[in-house]
Symmetry: C2
Subunit: 171 residues, 2 copies
DNA sequence: CGACACATGTAACACGTTACATGATTTG
DNA sequence: CAAATCATGTAACGTGTTACATGTGTCG
């Protein structure tokens, strides 16, 4: 997935690896921690597949930089990805759902503990996100934050249902 | 993540690989397609790490089966995972969000297309999920389906916001 | 007989994570 | 000077995906 974000950033303007990492962390407001190493290995694969080109720009004194840009094939690949909706089959494959399932399968009586801890964690995440919502925020970043908040709200609603189910079970 | 689902199923009762695959597909109502091969490689790792034990049960005529059961270490690992809330930092790292971001970064004027296609896909998924909601459903499976539906609803709400942003942009 | 479910696996590859290594420049 | 930031990378490992290989039992 990082692959496409890199292509997108490079389609806007050529950059070198470190700039890409910075751009992502800026857009996602630090909430998508990117490992630098992964950026370079992903760029290696993209270059190998002919989706980006790299040009070595020698610096005097400073270490050389390798500036990347998207090829025609890269733009095509990006366009295809952009117009393709995410994931046809449904997303039950999720860690939170998996935990609920395993709690109920094993009947371990700790389901309620898990619900409470998860709610606590979600509420803290919600608070952290809400703190980021300043009016001067870039509208795109704002959109992404809103998305994360909406999903957290949905999960909180769902945690209530899980809790009710666990309570029935205990009776 | 499959790792923990396998541990959970085995904690309920020992089984062999194929039974595990079947159990998962049953619980997730086919909405988590498990590759059989992955079950075996994951079991190999679990055995290597001392979390499960395998006993070969020879069958006459039929091929031997290798029945797995959880070790004490496996139960501990499972318990730890179950009580640990999912993912401390926030989930902006998401394919749908990434697409929205890249659309806006590249300013490609195809954002609205993407929103519409995604909404269409989400609505179809929603319909498919709703069809599965029969009253005789196992309450746990029902819980998981409800979760998926709640998240889809959140996403649909968010798609409206994205659409509004794209419309502003076009003006 | 042919198709399908049962049952086990291997191989290659993609992607992500963590950690480490290296060295220059800037700033307190 | 020390620390942080800039900039590039390698290595090891975990997990997941796709595809293939192999063989038996059952049912129409």
């Amino acid at each position: 997935m990082l692959k496409y974000v890199l292509l997108g950033l490079l389609a806007a303007s050529p950059r070198h690896g470190y700039q890409l990492k910075q751009a992502i962390e800026e857009h996602f407001h630090g909430a998508w921690p990117v490992n630098t190493g992964q950026v370079y290995t992903t760029l290696d694969r993209l270059e190998r597949d002919g989706l980006v080109e790299r040009e070595v720009v020698p610096q005097d004194l400073a270490p050389d930089r390798r500036v990347c840009s998207v090829t025609a094939a890269g733009r095509l690949e990006l366009k295809t990805w952009l117009l393709e909706p995410v994931d046809g089959p449904v997303r039950l494959k999720d860690e939170l759902f998996a935990k609920a399932l395993v709690h109920r399968i094993t009947g371990d009586r700790r389901g309620l503990d898990a619900v409470w801890k998860q709610r606590e964690a979600h509420l803290q995440n919600m608070a952290a996100l809400t703190r980021l919502l300043r009016p001067d925020l870039d509208p795109t970043t704002r959109l992404l934050l809103d998305g994360a908040i909406l999903r957290l709200q949905a999960d909180l609603e769902w945690l209530d249902r899980w809790e009710r189910l666990e309570e029935e079970h205990d009776r």
